[in-house]
């Protein structure tokens, strides 16, 4: 039996697992680099959890509190001024806007109108006259920063913000970025990968400009990126990876082709990415990192809504020979999309509106424990793991992952969770998100209504 010795995290019932191969029992004469690095992280995390388990219930509750005020302070400061060392992110400024403003929105903090208008004005300076947004004023338009800018404007949600987006030009830009293979490239003559496909398709879907021409053959490219492990890689042949798996799966759902993937092996792979540290790793045998709370946690949240298809794929009639998957499945993604008109831009809306029968597929309390105790920085912000520095990227994706895990027992998107679903005080509860785009759900609904009008 796998005993549960030193690493128990019995508080609020996260599981206790035997964390490491006992080096003495191990037949290996020495530990490898992977094992040594893993042990170091496990020790640091175990130290934090030991501390947690040694204190009173009241102190435990304090330790698992989300320090909202501190986070808002850290985020708001960044919005207004960044130090010289941020010059390495000078080509990622719409990303900085998104990471910060999405985090603030998750925390339920309102933004004053003046600041909101300043953001709209700034992003319009990053917009290329032929469509798409660049990394800063005057920079070449880029798919990733276009995604960040559009998600930021959706997150602001005002008439001014939404109407500032030139959809005709973005559509032309997206078409220009489409490669003959069906995949997308990041910018003019830029790299082709799964990230580019996701950012293009997500933007098109949310702006209600997704059509057959944009979708054509992109599913074939994503399929080529599903690896023997079950997860999805950045390019065909590369290693299964959490970020790309999120991007690939979300793309397939948005284009209504999720049933073409081998979903049961994808689910098995991602379920195994949650480790003894209670957080997620990005790849097999890699270290835990707070940002995968969203990338992997988001994949599991999406999978929760695809379970009828997975169950179908698990039956023997459809498992022999992968090519038969699509054709032998009676349940298609379109069934999941509900009774929509069949328009591609409705897929995202129907997906989130659909009632789900299943509970979460991962340990949601354990994940919250990792985020709040190992990634949270008491002065505000979040980090990858103990010993690392906070940054806006990790703040955004730790909070997004926290939101996903808090709402994962809700049968309808955004329905208020029971207190048992939340680690720490109920005031830790964040705003719910739309997991296909990672924007706050209410803001998604506002933009959906806005862009449905035209």
């Amino acid at each position: 039996m796998e005993s549960s010795p030193s690493f128990s995290t019995s508080f609020s019932s996260p599981p206790s697992t035997n964390p490491i191969p006992n080096p003495n029992l191990d037949s290996q004469p020495r530990l490898t680099v992977t094992q040594l690095e893993q042990l170091k992280v496990e020790e640091k995390v175990a130290e934090i959890y030991r501390l947690l388990n040694g204190v009173s219930a009241h102190a435990r509750s304090l330790m698992s509190e989300l320090w909202c005020d501190k986070h808002v302070e850290f985020l708001t400061r960044g919005l207004k001024q960044l130090g010289p060392s941020y010059h390495v992110l000078d080509a990622n400024r719409p990303w900085l806007c998104y990471w910060i403003l999405h985090s603030i929105a998750l925390l339920g903090e309102p933004l004053d109108t003046e600041l909101e208008n300043d953001v709209v004005d700034f992003l319009s300076r990053c917009e290329d006259e032929d469509g798409g947004y660049g990394g800063g004023p005057g920079q070449l338009p880029h798919l990733a920063t276009t995604y960040a800018a559009v998600n930021t404007l959706v997150t602001l949600g005002s008439e001014n913000a939404l109407s500032s987006i030139n959809r005709d030009n973005i559509y032309k830009f997206l078409l220009r970025m489409k490669d003959s293979s069906g995949a997308f490239r990041m910018h003019d003559a830029g790299e082709i990968d799964v990230r580019a496909c996701y950012t293009a398709i997500s933007v098109a879907s949310i702006l209600n400009i997704l059509d057959y021409e944009l979708v054509k053959d992109v599913g074939n490219y994503i399929l080529r990126c599903q690896t023997y492990e079950g997860g999805i890689s950045g390019e065909p042949g590369s290693e299964a990876h959490g970020g790309y798996t999120f991007c690939g799966l979300a793309t397939m759902i948005l284009i209504n082709e999720a049933d073409r993937l081998d979903l049961s092996s994808l689910l098995d792979w991602v379920a195994f990415r949650q480790g003894v540290e209670c957080g997620f790793q990005g790849r097999t045998n890699k270290l835990v990192d707070g940002c995968y709370s969203f990338w992997q946690g988001g994949v599991l949240a999406l999978m929760q809504r695809l379970l009828p298809i997975v169950a179908k794929q698990l039956t023997p009639s459809s498992v022999s020979g992968e090519s038969s998957l699509g054709s032998t499945c009676n349940i298609k993604s379109s069934d999941l999309a509900g009774q929509g008109s069949g328009k591609l831009s409705d897929v995202s809306f129907s997906f989130i509106k659909r009632h789900t029968e299943s509970g979460p597929l991962f340990h949601t309390i354990a994940l919250q424990q990792y985020i709040l105790l190992c990634s949270q920085v008491l002065e505000g912000g979040f980090k990858d793991k103990p010993g690392k520095q906070r940054d806006f990227y990790h703040t955004c994706y730790c909070l997004s992952g926290l939101s996903v895990s808090q709402y994962s027992w809700s049968k309808d998107a955004g329905a208020c969770p029971l207190p048992t679903a939340i680690l720490g005080p109920y005031s830790n509860l964040l705003e719910p998100i739309h997991p296909l785009h990672n924007v706050v759900l209410d803001k998604y609904y506002i933009s959906h209504e806005f862009f449905s009008r035209s």
Partner: protein, 332 residues
């Protein structure tokens, strides 16, 4: 970031005679900039001059030098890289020099998308003769970080586009010898055995690969990588996965040790879902584990396995519970 030595030596553009005809273009951040960066003067000035030549589309030697400086300060600026490629093409520069330039900055910025994209562009232009140098370069980066995602992607691109497959399986073996837990090396191994034009493909390689993998599993049954690799060896051929005794045998061997058997149970569960008929011995071993772990002795084998996994793998108890409730009806 430029080092302090560079800062000492750097002469501002405004003092360089060869730039006296150029009027720098400041960044248009607007009256109330958001996420404004407090740039150092050097950075700001360099980018102001970059904007000037970029807007004028000046494809000249001095423009090339300017991009070198701008990239040194922020190698993530894809606009600068993009413009640099236009200049390189216009000037017809010897791309061997360009490769040396990337060598230098890539080591310090090995996780930067732009550098690797640029490297691919250069290597593509140099053609098959560049293969050895590219393989050598990625090997050097992987010696520093054996799981660098970009380096592996580049290496795969080189193999497929320029060649150099001859020693690739040996390289994978060496990396796995160093660290059998290195999943990137397992992934590369899969890439080689399925795609190398020299090895005959997955079917030809399957037997020897299964032996290698089984050995790796038995040495470290807690290592997930070879377990996933083993399944991968039967990708697209579930019938063979189910009928090949080597697969169920390795599960049995690990289960009998009564230690680190989560992956063995998990694989066995999949086999059962695919229609595998377990031997009496296998049933007995699982039921023995089941008795110590759960009280579901009268259930079928797949259900028992799920119940054991719910207990011994509590992080995934929700997943195993779902699997238990969704077993195909005819499963043993």
């Amino acid at each position: 970031m430029s080092s302090s030595d560079d800062d000492d030596e750097r002469i501002p553009f405004i003092q360089r005679p060869e730039w006296s005809d150029v009027r720098p273009v400041p960044q248009d951040d607007g009256p109330h900039p958001i996420v404004p960066i407090a740039y150092h003067d050097d950075f700001r000035e360099t980018m102001d001059y970059f904007r000037a030549v970029y807007l004028a589309d000046e494809r000249s030697r001095r423009a090339l030098d300017l991009t070198t400086e701008a990239i040194g300060m922020n190698p993530a600026n894809y606009t600068v890289w993009h413009f640099r490629r236009l200049v390189l093409e216009a000037l017809n520069v010897d791309l061997h020099e360009e490769r040396d330039f990337i060598d230098e900055i890539a080591v310090r910025n090995s996780k930067n998308y732009q550098i690797w994209h640029h490297r691919r562009w250069v290597a593509e232009k140099l053609g098959p003769q560049a293969a050895d140098k590219e393989l050598e370069f990625t090997m050097m980066i992987l010696a520093l970080d054996a799981k660098n995602y970009h380096a592996w992607s580049h290496r795969q691109w080189v193999l497929q586009s320029l060649g150099g497959w001859e020693k690739e399986l040996d390289y994978c073996c060496k990396l796995l010898e160093d660290d059998i837990f290195n999943n990137s090396a397992w992934n590369q191994r899969y890439f080689v055995i399925t795609r190398s034009p020299l090895l005959g493909g997955l079917q030809a390689m399957r037997d020897s690969e299964v032996s290698y993998t089984v050995e790796a599993i038995l040495a470290n049954p807690q290592n997930e990588s070879p377990w996933r690799y083993l399944r991968g060896l039967y990708k697209g051929d579930t019938d063979l996965l189910v009928s090949d005794n080597q697969v169920s045998d390795v599960c049995l061997k690990v289960l009998k040790t009564n230690h680190n058997y989560i992956f063995a149970l998990s694989l066995l569960l999949d086999l059962l879902c695919y229609g595998f008929q377990p031997s009496h011995e296998l049933k007995r071993v699982v039921q023995f584990l089941g008795k110590t772990e759960t009280d579901s002795s009268d259930a079928n084998l797949a259900t028992t396995i799920c119940s054991i996994l719910e207990t011994v793998d509590p992080m995934r108890s929700n997943y195993w519970a779902w699997r238990k409730n969704n077993l195909p009806s005819q499963v043993c």
